[in-house]
């Protein structure tokens, strides 16, 4: 059973490392649509997969969060990637299996995974 004493130990370990997370203009923001439509379509495991993948790779300049319904419910789960100075990328019908490719190809190497984007789905956004 986990206890708060273990959390205390974690805090001691993390002391001094706080602030390592960049909060500057170079941050990449990944947001997952978490309204009724997104949740029903499977957004929760997608958000967890992004969190895991970003942590696994130690990407301190990437934040993972949520957004509401952006009005394209039929394409949920929808994930938007915001990079400073670039156009937003919108991924549609995202599954946890697609997440490692999006993180490695797009977030790490800067090349959006075209086949997963809304443009490739033939949608009018």
């Amino acid at each position: 059973m986990k206890s708060l004493a273990e959390l205390q130990a974690l805090r001691e370990q993390m002391k001094g490392r706080v602030g390592i997370r960049h909060d500057g203009d170079s941050n990449i923001r990944v947001v997952v649509g978490m309204a009724t439509c997104g949740i029903a379509a499977g957004a929760r495991p997608v958000l967890a997969a992004f969190t895991d993948e970003v942590a696994k790779r130690g990407l301190t300049h990437v934040s993972v969060g949520q957004t509401g319904c952006i009005g394209i419910c039929q394409y949920e789960p929808v994930v938007e990637v915001f990079e400073p100075g670039k156009e937003k990328t919108t991924y549609v019908k995202v599954t946890p299996e697609m997440v490692p490719a999006i993180v490695s190809q797009h977030i790490v190497n800067g090349a959006p995974v075209a086949e997963y984007t809304i443009g490739a789905s033939g949608a009018q956004s």
Binding site: L7, L10, M34, A35, T36, T51, A55, V64, C69
Partner: protein, 189 residues
């Protein structure tokens, strides 16, 4: 329609987020003797007028502008009623809202509870500025996760740092498994 009750909880709790709550308390309580499951979502957000409370159970009412339907509460209410339970909303402007859903615990039409821990982790991660209290109770025994206690221990370490989020997941999983033992851990019925 959601596949599990925990997804309804995630969806309905988002209403508390949008109501600018600073504290959201989620309780899941099983009473096997009474054959009853109760899920309560209580927030201290901006609350609603009696007229607004009436409208939120209407699927064709929503405050959003991106689409014309608001299905969160109607879905949750339907899931409750299908299993012989019901959904009630108590709300006061300026004080907050409490949504209570009851279910027939062993009713064949009751949706599985599903991954409640995944729902709680998601809510904390996406809304670290809010305090979350999650209580899982079965026949008088309980386990509680309170982010206020977490914050007290963590000091300057943010609640949404990856290490803390992973700890939170393990904390919920291990303590829930212990509460529900000897039943199998993980996915719940």
């Amino acid at each position: 329609m959601m596949q599990e009750l925990s997804l309804n909880v995630l969806d309905v709790a988002e209403n508390s987020v949008r109501a600018n709550a600073s504290l959201v308390e989620i309780t899941v309580e099983e009473d096997t003797a009474a054959d009853r499951l109760a899920i309560v979502i209580r927030d201290n957000g901006k609350g609603m007028t009696p007229e607004q409370v009436q409208t939120v159970i209407d699927p064709f009412y929503t405050t959003r502008t991106t689409r014309k339907v608001g299905l969160g509460v109607p879905f949750f209410r339907m899931a409750a009623q299908l299993s012989g339970g019901d959904l009630t909303i108590q709300s006061q402007v300026g004080a907050g809202t409490t949504v209570t859903a009851t279910f027939g615990l062993t009713n064949i039409d009751r949706m599985p509870l599903g991954d409640m821990n995944g729902t709680i982790s998601t809510l904390v991660q996406c809304n670290p500025h809010i305090d979350w209290v999650y209580t899982r109770r079965r026949d008088g025994r309980e386990m509680v996760m309170d982010t206020r206690q977490f914050r007290e221990v963590l000091g300057e370490v943010p609640l949404d740092s990856p290490e803390v989020l992973f700890f939170l997941r393990d904390y919920l999983q291990e303590n829930t498994a212990e509460l529900l033992a000897p039943a199998a851990a993980g996915e719940e019925q």
